[in-house]
Structure formats: structure tokens, C-alpha cells
């Protein structure tokens, strides 16, 4: 019954579920699985829904210099849903921000890659993990760019459960007030939060209408289709605008591991049973 509460979108949700993953997407998931195996834990489902979003941002959209992570002219990316960090770590490692061997020390005592990202990691802009922090911080960065006369663009990726937090809506109102054309918010709309379906736990629909009414210019896309993401994120982030943008990315939690897809028990795993390891290895193969 709760699924019926979902508003209809132009994006074909069946196609989102069936979206095949190309070689690069499978390779990046392989890096995530490597970290999970070595770390013995991880937020698996929340990372797998955002792999293509982060991949496209770093491959095609953001102006960044991996060898110079603090380059002042860079675009800023904040992973506000910090628990999805394995996807960010995989992309940053692949881009050369740090050696891929760091993934083998995920959550280790002396590793730099924790269960939530911190600024000690080259390429990570803000410590996140407590939800609802990224958009306010992104607003500060966007205002700073304006004050300092930089054309940096700020991108903040949030979860669909995260937007339950009141601070997100404080920030949404503020972004509109300041007309932040250099700010793009993205929502990973996988329709699952930790406890279950977002429609059961805390329905936020009509989501596109809510953000539109808060002054955002809203678009949507299939969050696993690389071509659609390039078009939607490219238009949102790069095109000059007088208002903040929001891209609603329709995704599948756990995308890439069949038994994990849309399965809330794969939100976080800290005891990797043989069954779980087999499911991960099966997906890797």
C-alpha cells in the first residue's frame, strides 16, 4: 500500500531497476567490495545506489585536480549522506586522490578511511555522517565563493531518508533567499531508509513539489543511467542560473548485488556472514 503513495515521475522506475551496469560501474563496485571484505563491514546498500552519481560527477562534471585536492578553483562536492562513503572512496581512489591500497584499511585502527568520511581523506571536503549537515555547509561555501569572487560550483548529495532532518529545510529556505545559482543539491531517491520504505517511515512526497515550492529548479533522472546523469547533472551544475538546483536521482538501494537490492537488511553490515560474502563475490564475478 505504501508504494502506492509514490508520486509518478517522468523517469521509468522499471528501467531504473533493470538498468544494466557497464564495465566502469562494475569496476568501481569491485573497489567497494574490496573495502567491505577487508574492513569486515560497511554501509553497503547506501553506497551502491550512488556509484553512478559520484562517478559521473568526478568523470564529467566537477572541475577538480586530484594531485592538488585543495586547488582553490575546484568545484566542491559534499557527500551529505556520509554513510554512502564507500562509493566516494572508490571514485577518489580510482581518480588518484590516494592509493587504492587505502581501501584495504577501511575502518582499520590506523586507516584514513572510516565508516563516515572525514577531511583527513584527500578529496573529502567536509566531515559528514550526522545527517542534515551538508546543505547548510554547502550554502556557506556557495556564499563564500560569491563573496570571494570565485566561480566554484557547489554540489551536495543527500539521501532520501536524510531529508527527514529539519536542518535540510532550514537550509532549503536559506538557499532560495540568497538565490544560489552556484549550488546544486542531489537526492539519492532509492526509496529506502534504514528502518524500511521511506513511504512507511516518513513519507516526504510530493518531493519534487516540495523542493520546487522552496525555490529550487528541480529535474529528475535515472540515477544509474550514465548518459542521463551526464545530461541532468551537466545542465544543473554547469548552466548559469539565478536559483539553486535540485536533481532527483531515481536509484535502487543495493544496486549491483541482487539479494541486496531494495533490501533494508543490507543498509549496514558489520558481521559479514559467509552468505553475505558469497553474495558480494557473486556480484563481483
Amino acid at each position: 500500500m505504501k508504494e502506492a503513495m509514490a508520486f509518478t515521475y517522468a523517469t521509468d522506475l522499471e528501467r531504473v531497476k533493470a538498468q544494466p551496469l557497464d564495465e566502469r560501474s562494475r569496476y568501481l563496485r569491485g573497489l567497494i567490495f574490496r573495502a567491505i571484505e577487508k574492513g569486515g563491514r560497511g554501509h553497503i546498500g547506501p553506497a551502491l545506489s550512488i556509484v553512478e552519481i559520484i562517478r559521473v560527477l568526478y568523470d564529467d562534471i566537477l572541475r577538480q585536480r586530484p594531485a592538488e585536492p585543495k586547488w582553490p578553483g575546484r568545484d566542491r562536492f559534499i557527500l551529505s549522506k556520509g554513510h554512502g562513503c564507500l562509493a566516494l572512496y572508490a571514485v577518489l581512489a580510482d581518480k588518484g586522490y590516494f592509493p587504492a591500497q587505502e581501501l584495504d584499511r577501511f575502518c582499520h585502527f590506523d586507516g584514513i578511511l572510516g565508516g563516515h568520511p572525514e577531511v583527513i581523506v584527500p578529496g573529502v571536503e567536509a566531515c559528514t555522517g550526522a545527517l542534515g549537515h551538508g546543505l547548510p555547509v554547502g550554502i556557506g561555501m556557495a556564499l563564500a565563493a560569491r563573496i570571494q569572487g570565485r566561480d566554484s560550483r557547489i554540489v551536495v548529495l543527500m539521501g532520501d531518508g536524510e531529508i527527514n532532518e529539519g536542518s535540510v529545510w532550514e537550509a532549503a529556505a536559506c538557499a532560495d533567499k540568497h538565490g544560489l545559482g552556484n549550488l546544486t543539491a542531489i537526492i539519492d531517491y532509492n526509496r529506502m531508509q534504514s528502518a524500511g520504505s521511506v513511504y512507511e517511515i516518513q513519507n516526504m512526497e510530493p518531493l519534487a513539489d516540495k523542493w520546487t515550492s522552496f525555490g529550487f529548479q528541480v529535474s529528475e533522472c535515472n540515477g544509474h543511467d550514465v548518459e542521463e546523469l551526464r545530461a541532468a547533472l551537466g545542465a544543473a551544475v554547469r548552466q548559469p542560473a539565478k536559483r539553486a538546483r535540485l536533481v532527483l536521482c531515481h536509484t535502487v538501494k543495493g544496486k549491483g548485488i541482487p539479494s541486496a537490492e531494495n533490501n533494508p537488511s543490507w543498509h549496514h553490515k558489520s558481521d559479514l556472514t559467509e552468505e553475505v560474502r558469497q553474495a558480494i563475490r557473486g556480484a563481483s564475478g
Binding site: 549537515h133 546543505l135 547548510p136 555547509v137 536542518s167 536559506c174
Partner: protein, 315 residues
């Protein structure tokens, strides 16, 4: 004190292009000069403290120096996680100016009374916690804040408080100030106070001196980092330490003093008496001074507490 602190924000903004002001729905006409002359660095935001702190953090990550101002309870309690994560975990130079520390808003009731702000701010790694005693001292603190590399909580008092600080005694964040110049050597009682409680403690010290009690008074405008050296030097040369604060007895100045004395393992600790607010929300309105007197935090109450404690020492 508040007026002076905001006037200083304007002075600092003229001096340093990194300085930005963010208010959260303050009274009309706040900082008009800054708004007029540097509108791009003046932000009057809504009643949205979580967003305001995150926004200040984002600005500070880009090299700006945000001075954020609203009522003390709202800038501490309301957005505690943002202060902890956005400011302290990133160790950013954001300044939180809290109006109405302690019982300043006595008539407005417990929702507006910051009686545990020092405790909760002190518990956060990287946070600096200050409570100056008068308007002249706030100007010195604001001046020093420009180059302090960490987040600072600035507890303000009411305004119109008597001026007791003196320029010749100097000012540095983290350095205690000896408020009684002519007292040297061993003392009968060492008073330690912060914020406007220092004014009451100074008057009490004068009254006690007139009775022949040798008093010293250490003003800790910075509760964190605590000036352990000055504290230990003074505490090792007295029979009785009395701490005075317009704050809960849990986690404030008195707690910090005891922690330092115990940690440093002074041989033969002096007796310590802590004066502050019991573990209670106020159940009276009236005025700041009436509530302070109610809990014995006025001059008469401090003198009485010293007498009682010294009587206990003798018996």
C-alpha cells in the same frame, strides 16, 4: 557589552576582509554600519540556528572569519550537533557570540537562561570558551579573536555592567588576570570567578580585605583553555579556594578548577568551595541580580560563603 561586541565586529570587518557577520533574526538595526558599508559580508538569517552554524562552517572552510550572534541558549543548546561537528570537528575559526549568558534574561524564564552553556561548550574538543567581565574586556577579547585559530564561544552579559577590567593588566585568550594588584604572597582565600560574577567577587574581596582577610582574585575570562599555571600558582599559596560563577555547578568554572587541581596532584589540596547555580531551572522571574542573590552569587553571598568556609577550616 553586546553593543560593544557588535561595534567591534564592524571594526574588525573594516580591518580584515575575512570577517563576516551572521545574525539569527536579531533586533532591527543590528550593526547598521556593516550592513551599509559591507553588505556582502552582512547576513541576517532566519530563526534557523542549525543552518546558520553550518553556513558559518562552510564560509570558514573557505577562509572567511564568521562572527555569529544570537541568544546564548539558541546558539548552544539548539544547534549543539552543528557546533560539535561542523565547527569543532573541523576546528574552524567561527565565533559564537551568545547574548544573555546566565540569568540575563531572568524575566523571560528558563527557555532563555543559559545556565549550562559553559559546560556543554567546554566539553567539545577544539572549542575555546570565554566569559568576559565588562564591555572594555569584550573589546579586548574581540580584538584578540581575529587571529585565534579555533572556534570560540563568547558568553555575553547584559550590558551596562560596571567596568572593572583595566587595560594595564593586559589581555590574552587563555591567560588568567589577577584582579588585586597589591596582594602578594600567601592568601587566606583565593576567589576565582568568570563573567560578571568577577564583579561580585571583586566587591566581596574588598569587603573581606577591610575585615583583615587576605584575599586574591583570579579572573578567568577564558574557561577553556584554562590557565593552569596561574591557577596552580595561586592555589598553592592559599588555604581556601572559592569559585564563583553565574552557571550550573555541573561542568562550569568550578568543575574546571577542581579538575585542574586534582589532575595536577597538588600536594595537600586547599579546601575548595564552589558557588554557582544548583542543578535546577529557575522558578522565579524578576531580575538577573535578584536570581544571583537568590543563589548567593552576589557580594553578600560570597562574603557569607567565605566566612562559613573559613569557620569550617578553623573548627
Amino acid at each position: 557589552m553586546r553593543k560593544r561586541s557588535l561595534a567591534m565586529v564592524y571594526e574588525l570587518a573594516k580591518r580584515d576582509r575575512r570577517v563576516v557577520f551572521i545574525g539569527s533574526d536579531l533586533s532591527p538595526g543590528t550593526l547598521p554600519e556593516l550592513k551599509r558599508h559591507c553588505p556582502e559580508r552582512y547576513f541576517m538569517e532566519g530563526i534557523a540556528e542549525a543552518n546558520v552554524i553550518g553556513m558559518a562552517a562552510g564560509m570558514a572552510m573557505e577562509g572567511l572569519l564568521p562572527y555569529v550572534n544570537t541568544i546564548a541558549t539558541f546558539i548552544t543548546r539548539r544547534c549543539y550537533e552543528q557546533v560539535a561537528i561542523d565547527l569543532c570537528l573541523h576546528d574552524l575559526p567561527v565565533r559564537l557570540i551568545g547574548n544573555g549568558g546566565g540569568y540575563v534574561y531572568a524575566p523571560l524564564g528558563p527557555t532563555h537562561q543559559a545556565i549550562e552553556d559553559i559546560a556543554i561548550m567546554r566539553a567539545l574538543p577544539n572549542m575555546t570558551v570565554t566569559a568576559v567581565c565588562d564591555a572594555d574586556e569584550i573589546a579586548r577579547l574581540m580584538d584578540a579573536s581575529l587571529d585565534w585559530p579555533h572556534p570560540i564561544y563568547i558568553r555575553l552579559a547584559k550590558g551596562g555592567d560596571p567596568i572593572i577590567s583595566r587595560e594595564e593588566r593586559g589581555f590574552a585568550i587563555g591567560k588568567a588576570i589577577n584582579m588585586i594588584d597589591d596582594e602578594r604572597g600567601r592568601s587566606d582565600v583565593l576567589l576565582i570567578a568568570t563573567g560578571v560574577a568577577t564583579t561580585q567577587a571583586l566587591r566581596a574581596a574588598e569587603r573581606l580585605a577591610a575585615e583583615g582577610v587576605r584575599c586574591r582574585l583570579l579572573h578567568l575570562h577564558t574557561i577553556k583553555p584554562l590557565d593552569r599555571r596561574a591557577l596552580l600558582d595561586a592555589a598553592s599559596a592559599t588555604d581556601l579556594v572559592v569559585t564563583v560563577e553565574e552557571h550550573s555547578l555541573i561542568g562550569g568554572l568550578g568543575s574546571a578548577v577542581i579538575e585542574a587541581l586534582v589532575d595536577e596532584g597538588l600536594g595537600g589540596l586547599p579546601r575548595v568551595k564552589r558557588l554557582g547555580i544548583p542543578d535546577k531551572f529557575a522558578n522565579h522571574y524578576g531580575s538577573q541580580s535578584a536570581l544571583m542573590a537568590h543563589w548567593g552569587l552576589d557580594t553578600a553571598g560570597i562574603v557569607r560563603a567565605v566566612h562559613d568556609a573559613r569557620g569550617g577550616l578553623r573548627s
